[in-house]
């Protein structure tokens, strides 16, 4: 089954789909290993991890969709990817949606920020006029109808927290974008539980909720009750990585190489402590046994190092 159809199926259960964020293929694989049925590619994390740059519209469409492609190739669960403001006007959106569909991700969110965009939880955002944004969603809808009607289109509005914006404006925009063809509405950056309630009541379609930054946190039960269709935690694994890498780096700096040996001792007991197995070497050996000449497998005899499991 195509990833897009799989995501449609997950969205059809009527329950809140809980999708944590990944920022590269590795973090996506970890989320899949733990059992999440879908993963989300964060643009913020992509920008920082791939380029070492802040989420300020500096990552190009090429860089973003390549990261999405690596992630989609690394996991078998559907991927929802950040596609910022579509990298241009409606014409740019046409190319962006085509490129993202080709990456194998199951859906994207596309926002109404002016170029260059920035993180939805950092001040200084500007939005384009609603008419122009509607044209972009209509263009995106037409492209996916042509190439893959199951491709999920999530319309994000940044009007709640943008310069001169309001929650009223954001709700009006969300409804207009749904009418233009979007499958889900993503009102970025509500600041209170009451605001989220209003969004769920007044937006006439499935709600995509970004549980991060300035927005309130809910339990899954609360979100089911509110009627939220999808919720993402874009930054969780990204922040956890920053902390883990920093802490280890600091320890290495202070205690020297011995800190690595100590870390490895602890890591051995971790569920993913066997990195070679997690990376997929068993699979490689299985393929070798299946498709290479039998004598080729002699290379494992007397060769030093991790021995991948025989199938």
């Amino acid at each position: 089954m195509r990833a897009t159809s799989k995501l449609r199926e997950l969205l059809g259960t009527g329950k809140t789909l809980f999708v944590p964020g990944c920022y590269n293929a590795l973090s996506a694989k970890i989320l899949e290993t733990v059992g999440f049925p879908a993963v989300y590619m964060t643009g913020y994390g992509t920008s920082v991890s791939l380029l070492g740059l802040p989420d300020a519209g500096l990552a190009t469409m090429t860089e973003m969709h390549l990261n999405a492609r690596y992630i989609a190739n690394a996991v078998s669960v559907p991927v929802i990817a950040d596609s910022d403001n579509g990298y241009g006007n409606a014409i740019g959106v046409i190319r962006t949606v085509r490129e993202y569909i080709q990456t194998g991700v199951a859906g994207i969110h596309l926002e109404d920020q002016a170029i260059p965009k920035r993180c939805g939880h950092v001040a200084g955002r500007r939005v384009i006029p609603i008419e122009e944004a509607v044209g972009k969603y209509r263009a995106a809808d037409a492209v996916r109808r042509e190439l893959d009607p199951d491709f999920v289109l999530i319309a994000r509005t940044d009007a709640r927290g943008a310069h001169g914006g309001s929650l009223d404006d954001a709700i009006r925009r969300a409804n207009a974008y749904l009418e233009a063809g979007a499958d889900l509405a993503f009102v970025e950056g509500p600041t209170s539980v009451d605001e989220v309630r209003r969004i769920c009541k007044e937006v006439q379609g499935p709600i995509f909720y970004n549980q991060t930054g300035i927005s309130p946190r809910f339990t899954l039960d609360e979100m089911n009750e509110l009627g939220i269709a999808v919720t993402i935690l874009p930054g969780a694994t990204f922040r956890a990585t920053i902390q883990a890498v920093y802490d280890l780096a600091k320890e290495l700096r202070e205690r020297g190489p011995v800190a690595e040996a100590d870390f490895n001792e602890r890591f051995k007991a971790h569920p993913l402590g066997n990195v070679h197995t997690f990376a997929g070497f068993d699979q490689v050996r299985e393929w070798e046994e299946e498709y290479l000449p039998a004598e080729e497998m002699d290379k494992y005899t007397d060769s030093v190092g991790h021995q991948p499991a025989k199938s």
């Binding site: 740059l53 300020a56 519209g57 500096l58 190009t60 469409m61 090429t62 860089e63 990298y87 241009g88 006007n89 014409i91 740019g92 190319r95 170029i115 260059p116």
Partner: protein, 288 residues
């Protein structure tokens, strides 16, 4: 010597720099083989050949910089590359300059169009305010890491506001740190003359057959006072009808064998450096 330093020297030496436009590695090679001393990477040609799309701001910074890198690495001439609007605001401009520097080109031109941009010879262009443009040029000039890297400021204002405004923008951009000024699409020879007289900076002329600017020959441009002339379309305009003719012939005759001079695979490989690579192969071949 770095290509940027070479281009700097060429800017200081007397004589006009002629840069035919390459749209891919092959055309860049042919430009070098023909004896030209500079290559121009056309953005319109990049979008058309690399993506198969029109010049409507669809090519990303990544694609343009990668393409520039391919051209720069297959010729030993300095390459001047089209960098459109710098792909965003001043922050994107700084990133663009650094990516182009790393691509190994000698310089770039950056214009004052509103993003997404359009080809300079197509209607419907819009320009950003002069101050915003100058800030972008200043950012480009201050944040290049190679002080020899050549920043060319292009204004598209002639078609949007007026020639007076375009000349004013050219002078302001030069004050903001541009090394060369490129006033896009003047419409008469008088306008070309006025640009040469009134813009106080080295000038780039853009010759596009079928565009808005009348054809002026290289010696005349040099006499008027231009320092660089680019011919963005020269290779692509020759290649497209040739490919169309060849495809029609294939369809009609059922073969691509013909009576005229034949270009063998080796003829093609020779044009893209076969002998140079072969010499290396020979040199390091195992001795038996």
């Amino acid at each position: 010597m770095r290509p940027s330093t070479r281009l700097r020297h060429m800017l200081k030496e007397p004589g006009i720099i002629v840069a035919p436009g390459a749209y891919d590695g092959f055309s860049a090679r042919l430009i070098e083989a023909a004896g030209f001393r500079c290559v121009y990477m056309t953005g319109a040609g990049t979008a058309a050949s690399h993506l198969g799309q029109p010049d409507l701001g669809l090519a990303t910074l990544t694609e343009m910089a990668n393409h520039a890198g391919h051209l720069a690495s297959c010729v030993s001439l300095p390459v001047i590359a089209d960098a459109d609007t710098g792909y965003g605001n001043v922050l994107n401009v700084v990133r663009t300059v650094r990516e182009y520097e790393r691509a190994g080109v000698a310089g770039l031109h950056m214009e004052d169009q509103v993003a997404p941009k359009k080809c300079g010879h197509i209607a419907g262009k819009q320009v950003i305010p002069t101050q915003e443009f100058c800030d972008k040029i200043r950012a480009a000039s201050e944040y290049r890491t190679d002080s020899d890297f050549v920043i060319i400021a292009r204004t598209d204002a002639r078609a949007v506001t007026s020639l007076d405004d375009a000349i004013e923008r050219g002078n302001r951009a030069a004050e903001a740190g541009a090394d060369v000024i490129f006033v896009e699409a003047p419409q008469t020879e008088d306008e070309i003359q006025r640009i040469a007289r009134e813009v106080r900076a080295p000038l780039l002329a853009n010759m596009v057959p079928g565009g808005k600017t009348p054809a002026v020959k290289i010696p005349e441009l040099e006499r008027i006072g231009f320092k660089i002339v680019i011919f963005p379309a020269v290779c692509m305009a020759a290649a497209v009808p040739a490919m169309e003719r060849a495809l029609t012939t294939l369809k009609e005759t059922g073969t691509d064998w013909h009576d005229g001079p034949v270009l063998s695979p080796m003829d093609i490989f020779r044009r893209v450096g076969f002998d140079w690579w072969h010499a290396i192969e020979e040199k390091f071949a195992p001795r038996s």
